[in-house]
């Protein structure tokens, strides 16, 4: 005989109807809250706006900025910290200079800075695929930083575990990234976050108001503060100063390096970059690729030769695919801040070269 059932020592015993109500209310809340939130949280980007550095991992915010940029700018520029402008202020980035040079263009401001710090090609693919859905029917400048192919480690093709940037954007199950060793629950959470905007909104909430902590850890840091008061509905505005000290790589004390480089037929990052182009094209975008800049002076002769050969192969592929591109000329030695980031003057020079390039003009006219 079955023993009698004593429910519990609390009264939270819900009926069938109650559970249906809960399900419906949760569904509505989860669907609508991120949308309502957009109305509650102030977001008035300036012409030279870039995602605040501290929100580099806030993909919900990226998605919001991306949506805004796609409706207000004819061109969006996507790339890593080279596009974002690691060593320069708001009015010294590549998109800014392009806008300045095209000031007479009736569509001013022309180009939005969708650069995100640390976005390597594999992460870029995830970023555009899941959080950049509004990028369609646009002119897209895609930046390729060759540093991501400078070694097997950066290429994510090494088998040794490596803590790389933006793991939440890379493929979680297929294709397998050998150096990515996250456990199944973590990967599953990431998949959910990609498809449920509410989940990425939760990440936004934590990043923006709770220093990327859950409420428990946050209240351990600030035990006497009301955690709900922390929600101010204010998003940090990007600081108008370089994130890193704007000095040249020589002043920084960097020396010549012998990057091994990864051959492009085996490169995971190059393969991902090609997928980014295909994805953007499938959304009817007109893609223009900027290969580099890259500091040739930091490379040993042997490494430089391997780099040139690799770049040539990439250019050939782009040419064969009919994709407009430009490889900016080498800058003077002192205009590089490190291996791949130019300083302010470097950006200005690249922008000038770019807007004068025939392929760019033709692409712009399309």
């Amino acid at each position: 005989m079955k023993p009698s059932f004593t429910f519990s020592s609390n009264s939270i015993r819900l009926s069938y109807v109650s559970w249906i109500c809960i399900f419906i209310v949760l569904l509505i809340t989860i669907s609508l809250l991120p949308i309502i939130w957009r109305g509650l949280e102030d977001f008035n980007p300036s012409d030279d706006y870039r995602l605040p550095y501290e929100l580099s991992y806030d993909y919900w915010m990226f998605s919001r900025w991306c949506k805004y940029a796609c409706s207000n700018y004819p061109i969006v520029m996507i790339g890593d910290s080279v596009v974002w402008g690691q060593y320069v202020g708001l009015k010294e980035t590549l998109p800014y200079y392009i806008n300045e040079l095209e000031k007479t263009n009736q569509n001013y401001p022309l180009c939005a800075n969708l650069g995100v710090d640390g976005i390597h090609p594999s992460a870029m693919l995830g970023l555009i695929k899941y959080y950049g859905k509004s990028i369609s029917n646009k002119h897209v400048i895609l930046h390729l930083n060759l540093l991501w192919m400078s070694s097997k480690k950066h290429d994510l093709s090494d088998t040794e575990e490596f803590r790389f940037n933006h793991p939440r954007l890379v493929p979680q199950f297929y294709p397998k990234i050998p150096s990515y060793k996250a456990k199944f629950p973590q990967r599953a959470n990431i998949i959910v976050e990609r498809y449920v905007p509410f989940s990425s909104w939760v990440s936004h909430l934590r990043l923006n108001y709770y220093e990327n902590m859950d409420i428990g850890n946050w209240t351990m840091q600030y035990p006497y503060r009301n955690p709900f008061n922390a929600i101010t509905f204010q998003i940090p505005y990007p600081e108008d100063k370089p994130h890193s000290e704007p000095i040249s790589w020589i002043e920084r004390g960097m020396t010549k390096q012998d990057f091994p480089w990864v051959s492009i037929d085996k490169s995971f990052q190059w393969d991902s970059f090609k997928k980014v182009i295909k994805l953007l094209q499938s959304r009817k975008n007109k893609v223009f690729v900027i290969i580099g800049p890259f500091n040739p002076y930091i490379l040993t002769d042997e490494s430089l030769n391997r780099y040139k050969a690799m770049k040539k192969d990439m250019e050939n592929w782009l040419k064969n695919e009919g994709i407009s591109y430009v490889s900016p000329s080498d800058l003077p030695n002192e205009f590089y801040a490190d291996a791949s980031h130019p300083l302010k003057v470097g950006y200005e020079m690249i922008a000038k070269e770019l807007v004068e390039t025939e392929s760019f003009k033709n692409w712009l006219d399309k």
Partner: protein, 482 residues
């Protein structure tokens, strides 16, 4: 595999979907057994050898009891066997440590090597399940279970396998006979229990653990107030953690058509230590009462023997929790507490003159004091904490206000809940609280639509709070280590 993990969600969906159509067939027991073994083997497949051994030996001990005239012999063999397994895996390191200390004190240089075995999770629970079967059979309380598969399923039934509630063969084996009935209420009750349990674990226990762990990991860095608050916080943490687990276990079982007994009944509202043990880990308390305290003589042979039996039961119960002196002292403290208060609790003065709230606070304070020994990593730490609580200063404890709010809110809720029930009992709508059942409470509260809608709001807020504000770090349950 933790209940609040992706693994369990996927596991349970597969198990449940397959289980539903299989219920009408004989295959469902095999399916439950496979599921339970997968669940348990997830930690370490080698554990399966142990649980299978425990199952087979106890099952055949009863077979031999039935087939031979030596019932007592086979009972002793099975109990010794179960306890030997428990001792070796759980207490091996503790025993060798203490023997080695003793040997060195006696000047003997020989050191007994420590058994290098890992403590299998849940061993204390399933050995007790098995022992309840052999003892109950010996006493004639139950019949021999003819099916080894059914018996194995009873021992390894996955929802409660690793942290209880401790099942009795007399409760569970009949439920595994025939087709488990699943009505709408099973699903809704199961979900209700599961959500409350999940909230207790993820939003409350793991939250309090942040402060408790910080303080108890380095008690020398904190002074009196921090240590007091961390101790109170631990009291609530272990309650939320353990009762959260059992709520989830009961919820899952309920959804599968099985009823597991209530294991926690608002223990921090207890008005006496006896009352506390009737409300805290009820399945363990009643197990020890039925299989140790009463066989020892219970309260039948005078006061001295009653207290002796009580002392032994409490100390063994403490030792059951963990292989360390701190647990033994914890058990002993509760035994002394009972010595000091048992008669007093029965007096008219205690029952009529002392306000209920004062009694509840006193019990909570005593239980919390005892938790110091339960939680401290070493005996030295426990002594240090007690010393510092009484001697060191009271600087800013940096205890989160939100955590304090949660604990007080739960306490207040439980307080009101019992008040609500008792108020009705005075009106004759309900029997006394002791006789109260959830079904009766449900029938009354169902009439109160306002409360019904309030519960819906509370559950929505709980779920949203968990999704938005907590991170499931997949922290294991405290009782897994026992």
């Amino acid at each position: 595999m933790l209940f609040h993990s992706w693994y369990f969600l996927i596991f349970f969906i597969i198990v449940y979907i397959t289980y539903l159509p299989l219920r009408g067939t004989k295959a469902y027991l095999y399916w439950l057994l496979v599921a339970s073994y997968v669940f348990y083997g997830w930690w370490n497949p080698l554990y399966l050898i142990l649980i299978a051994y425990c199952t087979v030996t106890n099952y055949y001990a009863v077979v031999l009891m039935q087939r031979t005239q030596r019932r007592k012999l086979w009972l002793i063999v099975s109990i010794v066997n179960s306890l030997a397994v428990l001792c070796f895996f759980k207490y091996g390191a503790f025993i060798t440590n203490n023997v080695n200390t003793l040997l060195s004190l006696l000047g003997v240089s020989y050191v007994i090597p420590k058994p290098g075995v890992l403590l299998p999770v849940g061993i204390s629970f399933y050995t007790f399940h098995a022992m309840s079967y052999t003892i109950d059979y010996y006493r004639g309380n139950i019949k021999r279970e003819p099916s080894l598969v059914r018996f194995a399923t009873f021992i390894s039934f996955f929802p409660q396998l690793v942290a209880g509630p401790i099942l009795r063969a007399s409760d569970m084996l009949p439920q595994l006979t025939g087709k488990p009935e699943i009505k709408k209420e099973n699903i809704t009750d199961g979900l209700s229990l599961f959500i409350v349990g999940l909230f207790k674990k993820v939003a409350l226990a793991d939250y309090l653990a942040l402060y408790v762990d910080k303080v108890y990991d380095s008690p020398n860095l904190f002074d009196g107030l921090s240590l007091i608050l961390a101790t109170f916080a631990f009291g609530w943490q272990i309650y939320f953690d353990f009762s959260g687990y059992t709520d989830m276990a009961r919820g899952i079982s309920r959804m599968m058509g099985f009823n597991l007994k209530l294991n926690f009944n608002n223990p921090y509202l207890a008005t006496g230590l006896g009352d506390f043990w009737n409300r805290w880990h009820i399945s363990l308390s009643s197990w020890f009462k039925d299989y140790l305290y009463i066989p020892l003589g219970g309260n039948r042979k005078g006061k001295f023997n009653t207290y002796k039996n009580m002392f032994l039961t409490m100390v063994i119960s403490g030792f059951w929790h963990g292989a360390d002196w701190t647990f033994i002292i914890w058990g002993a403290l509760h035994a002394f507490g009972r010595f000091l208060t048992r008669e007093f609790e029965r007096s008219n003065f205690y029952n009529q003159k002392i306000p209920k709230l004062a009694k509840q606070i006193a019990v909570f304070a005593f239980v919390s004091f005892a938790w110091i020994f339960f939680r401290a990593q070493t005996l030295n730490d426990a002594v240090l904490i007690v010393k510092k609580i009484f001697t060191s200063g009271f600087s800013d404890p940096q205890f989160p206000i939100l955590a304090l709010f949660f604990c007080l809110a739960v306490w207040m809720y439980q307080f009101l809940y019992e008040f609500f029930v008792n108020r009705h009992s005075k009106n004759g709508d309900l029997e006394t609280y002791q006789n109260f059942t959830g079904v009766r409470f449900y029938n009354i509260s169902k009439k109160k639509l306002a409360i019904g809608s309030l519960k819906v709001v509370v559950v929505i807020l709980m779920i949203l709070y968990m999704i938005i504000f907590t991170t499931s770090g997949n922290e294991a349950f405290i009782y897994f280590q026992f």
